[in-house]
């Protein structure tokens, strides 16, 4: 009886684990299944390199891929130095009491709803950007990237702090014994040792930036042309899904958003496996 119960429990746990992982596969399978007819019709080339002009029969998602790339990379450009400084502050520069308090604040910041960032962005930042640069509507790549940058900074900072924390204590003790100041310790011991972890943090943050929908949808203007400057509107893959979900179910428009889904999914996989690979190779070297 006891053994029987043990066995059932183990089977139940295994079943849950299999179910959870099946979800991961099912999402991809569904995307591919729904997007496949379009791929067969128009081919991958047309999808990835043509513009979006449904009335002319062209359903490419090329402008959205460029838009996603531009907005997320630019936001990384804002977030990286910010996160670096903040993690320095928490890691060693600020006094203990301040750093503890600051870290808690940053943890809380990760809980601010994305839609709030977007809401404040629309009414506060958009008019400022419009008047500051005197061109365009303010709904543009720059605005979206700025807000997105602020949004991913707490996450990236915490990733950095985590990789600082994982440094063997012996390293730090050695530096202390040699009489290093906190900044010296940070620059010459912690930073080189935490490099791998920080790269992982940047990659994961890029994943978050690419995956965000609301900020780009609310602030980037959603035009379907490839923007020529950061003050022009653009559309991301995620916003495209949100906008075109409106279209009907069997049309090529609707099929093409599954292609967007597949692209985003594959990107997620690439990020995950890159991080895993880096972590793995780091484990080998240390």
């Amino acid at each position: 009886m006891k053994r029987y119960r043990e066995l059932i429990a183990e089977r139940a746990f295994l079943l849950s684990a299999l179910t959870s992982s099946a979800i991961t596969v099912a999402i991809l399978a569904f995307m591919v299944f729904m997007g496949l007819p379009l791929l067969k019709q128009g081919g991958l080339y047309q999808l990835l390199f043509k513009p979006w002009a449904p009335f002319q029969g062209s359903f490419g998602i090329y402008p959205m891929i460029i838009g996603t790339g531009a907005i997320s990379l630019l936001s990384l450009l804002f977030a990286f130095p910010l996160s670096l400084g903040c993690s320095f502050l928490i890691g060693s520069i600020a006094p203990q009491s301040v750093s503890k308090w600051f870290r808690r604040l940053i943890e809380l910041m990760t809980g601010i709803p994305t839609v709030i960032y977007g809401f404040v962005g629309v009414f506060l930042l958009v008019p400022i950007v419009r008047e500051l640069f005197g061109s365009g509507s303010g709904l543009c790549i720059l605005t979206a990237a700025l807000v997105l940058g602020i949004m991913i900074t707490p996450t990236m900072t915490l990733f950095f702090c985590d990789s600082f924390d994982r440094i063997p204590k012996a390293y730090l003790d050695a530096a202390d014994a040699l009489g290093a100041s906190p900044v010296q310790k940070l620059l010459y011991v912690i930073l080189p040792a935490a490099k791998h972890g920080m790269i992982n943090g940047v990659i994961l943050s890029l994943g978050r930036a690419v995956g965000d929908t609301l900020i780009a949808l609310m602030l980037a203007g959603n035009s379907v042309r490839v923007a020529e400057s950061v003050l022009e509107p653009a559309r991301t893959l995620t916003a495209h899904i949100a906008l075109v979900i409106a279209a009907d179910y069997e049309s090529p428009e609707f099929r093409s958003i599954f292609a967007c889904g597949v692209v985003l999914y594959l990107f997620t996989m690439a990020v995950t496996f890159l991080v895993r690979y880096l972590t793995f190779s780091k484990d080998q070297t240390v």
Partner: protein
């Protein structure tokens, strides 16, 4: 004095008595109903739908009506697929759509689609060819039209929009819309986008125009509900509610309500012309 007040009181009571039967008459059919009614599609329709739904739900708490947007294309498709009971559209469903989904069309109002700018914008009149040049991107600075020296920010709607379809066909004579245009998802969103951008131009349902946005006269005709009604403003359209097959029960009663006096009052109040 006392007499006067009594007379006026009697007057008020009689007016109330005269009115209330009409009110309850419109809503009476809902008394025996209960259940859920799902509506989606055309975004120009939403204010009317919301108010009608509120009156019906107030009169009978057993009824629940949910209202979503999405655009005319979505409305037609969702009602065709049976995902909603009523699919609204701001354009007439095509023969192909009617045939494929066995749609029943109910046009309950007349509306127009008007180009709009921010009230601060000095440009309040355009010819149709100027309008076409703006939307195609040929004219790109307000200075060329006598306004401020700023780029023109074009706002358009997504492909599922009936407002876009009508404006494109009648307002732009099927001319191109620049791919650099900002895309918004509803009439409401167009209105608030233009209200916020002093250098923007877009188009909304005439019924939605209020002090937040300024209509642009097209070839000398200011788009208002009057000019739409008398036929001088040409970019006109009907507002439709579509059902899959012959509507029954709550769905039928809701559509019937739009044709009652109370329904017509709501339609007029929201800036449209009730269909005869």
């Amino acid at each position: 004095m006392k007499k006067l007040s009594i007379i006026s009181l009697a007057l008020i009571v009689s007016v109330l008595l005269a009115c209330s039967p009409a009110f309850s008459d419109s809503l009476a059919p809902f008394k025996s109903e209960k259940g859920l009614l799902k509506i989606s599609g055309g975004t120009a329709h939403i204010p009317v739908m919301k108010e009608a739904a509120q009156q019906i739900m107030m009169a009978n708490p057993e009824i629940q009506i949910s209202i979503a947007g999405g655009g005319s294309g979505v409305g037609i498709k969702q009602v065709g697929e049976g995902l909603v009971d009523i699919g609204n559209s701001g354009r007439k469903a095509t023969d192909e759509e009617i045939g494929r989904h066995q749609l029943k069309l109910y046009q309950w109002a007349i509306d127009g689609v008007a180009p709009v700018v921010n009230p601060q914008n000095k440009v309040k009149e355009l010819s149709q060819s100027q309008l076409m040049d703006i939307f195609s991107g040929k004219l790109n600075n307000w200075k060329q039209l006598g306004g401020a020296d700023r780029n023109i920010n074009i706002y358009t709607r997504d492909e599922a929009s009936g407002t876009r379809a009508v404006f494109w066909k009648k307002g732009l004579k099927k001319g191109p819309i620049s791919s650099g245009a900002h895309v918004v998802v509803s009439n409401g969103a167009m209105k608030s986008a233009i209200a916020q951008d002093p250098y923007g131009i877009g188009y909304v349902s005439v019924g939605h125009i209020d002090e937040m946005v300024a209509p642009v006269a097209l070839d000398g005709v200011v788009p208002t509900i009057q000019t739409v009604q008398d036929g001088t403003y040409k970019v006109a359209r009907g507002l439709y509610s579509n059902t899959k097959g012959e509507p029954t029960g709550l769905t039928k009663k809701f559509i019937d309500f739009l044709y009652t006096d109370e329904g017509k009052k709501i339609i007029e109040k929201r800036g449209f012309i009730p269909a005869q």
